[in-house]
Amino acid sequence: MRGTVHVVDDDASFRSAIERRLKKAGYAVATYPSAQQLLDRLPDEAEPGCILLDVRIPDLSGPELQDRLSKLGSTLPIVFLSGYADVRTTVQTIKAGAEDFLTKPVSSEQLLHAIEQAMAHHEASRDERRKLDALRELLATLTPRERQVFDRVVQGKINKQIAQQLGATERTIKAHRHRVMEKMKVQSLAELVSIAERLGVLTGISARA
């Protein structure tokens, strides 16, 4: 299974044509005649997938659906497919994070390429998210004291300064520091800093400081 393509288009004939073609390419296809129907049964984000969205659909338009989805925190990539591409809409949707903007009639080659890329992006972002989740879990295993030490270490403080700030001996801090490295499964200070950066810990600290 190569993932699910969610096709939102009010044109029944176009929906069935696209569905046929994508199924031949090995994708699972879910079709929705309106934006509301997609919102009513939101696709499972855990599965690889993407949304193929018409700009002009009755009631809620394509760009409006895009906006709603991003407010709902959806990470599903959106490929726009429009009967008529005016510059304004194109720019607007791309700026809002659309994966691609195609115009009908679209060749299968172009369409499949765009979908493949969208799927790959989704996969990569899901991958990244999984890694971040794993790191967050590790970070959560630190005791409050260890977390204090962690915050200061990644800011580049030396043991002596940390000991002074936390009112502990340098030896205790050294032991804490050792345990933090162990729990976060890193070998070097550089790795620890990179994790802190990716989790947004550093910006949090400097904002507080």
Binding site: D11, S13, F14, S16, A17, I18, R20, R21, K24, R56, S61, L81, S82, G83, Y84, D86, T89, T103, K104, P105, V106, S107, S108, L111
Partner: protein, 309 residues
Amino acid sequence: MIVRRGVLLIWLAVVLSPTELLAGSDIRFREPTFWEAYRWQSLMIAAIILVQAGFISLLLHERKKRTDAETEARSRLTELAHVGRQATAGELSSSIAHELNQPLGAILTNAETAELILKSPSPDLAELREILADIRRDNQRASEVINRMRSFLKRTPFEIKDLDLNDIMREVFEFLGVQASSRNVALYYDLSPEPLRIRGDAVQLQQVILNLIFNSTMSAMPYGRAVIGRSELDGGSSAIISISDSGPGIPSKKLAEIFDPFFTSKKQGTGIGLSIARTIVLAHKGRIWAEDQSEGGTVFRLSIPLARQ
């Protein structure tokens, strides 16, 4: 005097008996001719006929001049309406593109899928049949779009027919749906439940409504986001259509000028849309006017007399 003398002679002949006739006199009686008897009457009648004939031919001439003028006015109107439609056609290009690309897109995808199926060692004929049927249907759809455009752009002679104004409203609003959504303006319409039977030219009335909507869409564009069309009965004698927008409105001293030719407040406006609209409405014995709405924006109204049952 001939008449008098004739009568006198007859009188003399009757009153004076032959016995009392004076010696040496004799009676001569001659029947007066028709001309002698009715000369004045005949002359009068001839004169009246002549004068009447003169009048009739004068009236006939006037009538011919009037129908000629009417035909000319109508063909001018047709011409003008045609120019107006061509101008709007340019703006409609996005609607046309969308409506054509929808079926064309489906056809292309279906054709490519069919090719793919044919390449497989055992092609699924049932699916191929289905695809071909879909392609045929989409093809018809595309040609309907083109026919509709052609009939819209054709130089159609002014033709009065029995119409329902609601049908005209519905067609225009649906036709413009795409256009408006690409400009981020919502179009709504609300039609009277009863049919609005009028007599008029469908294409030209469509153009009036189209021009009004365009006008409202333009002014609604950077501000509000809705253009609302309404149709209703006004008493039992006329139908009213109103198109309202949520734009900045028109200064009240300009409200009377906006229908004048070449009056425009837009940078790219030609100023002929509303004046064509007024010409067409007048040709339908109707009225068109604009009002400021208390809640902001402008409402255009046009009233067309209902057809007599």
